[in-house]
Amino acid sequence: MSEHTLGPAERAWRSETVSLGMWVFLLTEVMFFGVLFLAYFHVRHADPEGFGIASRHVHEWLGTFNTAILLTSSLSMALAVQAASGDDRKRLVRLLAVTGLLGAAFMGVKATEYFLEWKDGLVPGPGFRYSGAHRRTVEEFFFLYFVMTGVHAIHLTVGIGAVAWNALVARRERHVTRREDAIEALGLYWHFVDVAWVFLYPFFYLVLLYK
């Protein structure tokens, strides 16, 4: 069906359906991350002291900076959704580009962190070189850290790809309102990935910062 045959009521109905579908997908994502958070609580509860010691080995300044980057990318994504709805193609493409670049910046900082932790011998497995107190909990902490932030990074990579793709498609579109629902769904996904990080951040970076 071509766009101009749709009335406002049909457009609203279609928009609601798209959002609902995306929310159902996000529910499966909540359960997916949920079990990981459950494992997290179990490990932390089993040895709170060791968990705190372990958390002192992550780079809290880089993590905080990265959180600011991701929160800002959510702002540009929300503004992009608004631009798509207002049929402002230039603004949409520009805001999607900003969102994608902020996502890429986050990945760059995260990769730096991973590299530093790998150099410090904190990657669980045969290369795990930490030999201080609570060795087992520290290894479990870093196991959770790499799995959970890694899964988050995969989600973000998918998001960056989708943002880039939509920016390229929108550039050739005469009326970007045609892409309105796709961008809206993309926005929901992007914000969800942001929300997941909002919890990962205090759980790994802010456990034991006070002296």
């Binding site: 959002s19 929310w23 996000l26 459950l38 800002t72 205090p202 006070y210």
Partner: protein, 99 residues
């Protein structure tokens, strides 16, 4: 779908960054058991802001809101029942687990 004003998004962003600075600063203050609670509470506030404003739950239909809350409910059941299990059972190590 009618779009909220850009101003609301910018205000939300400022609030999110303010909460980030607040939680980072409070994590450096010794509050005992409250440290974990405070960082979790601020995290929840940030998530709520993103969900209500950026994800538009504030203006969403009841159906959509029910779906969003269903996720939290399922999560609460998962945490509640599994947590009760961990809290009330003795840990029996598997034969291959090193003590």
């Amino acid at each position: 779908m009618t779009q909220p004003a850009a101003r609301a998004y910018w205000i939300t962003w400022v609030m999110l960054l303010a909460l980030l600075v607040l939680t980072f600063a409070l994590a450096h203050v010794r509050l005992g058991n409250l440290n974990a609670a405070v960082s979790l509470a601020i995290g929840a506030m940030k998530a709520l802001l993103v969900a209500l404003v950026f994800m538009k739950l504030r203006r969403a239909s009841t159906l959509l809101a029910v779906f969003a809350v269903a996720g939290l409910l399922a999560l609460a059941i998962l945490f509640g029942l599994s947590g009760a299990d961990y809290a009330t059972r003795a840990t029996t190590p598997a034969p291959w687990t090193s003590p």
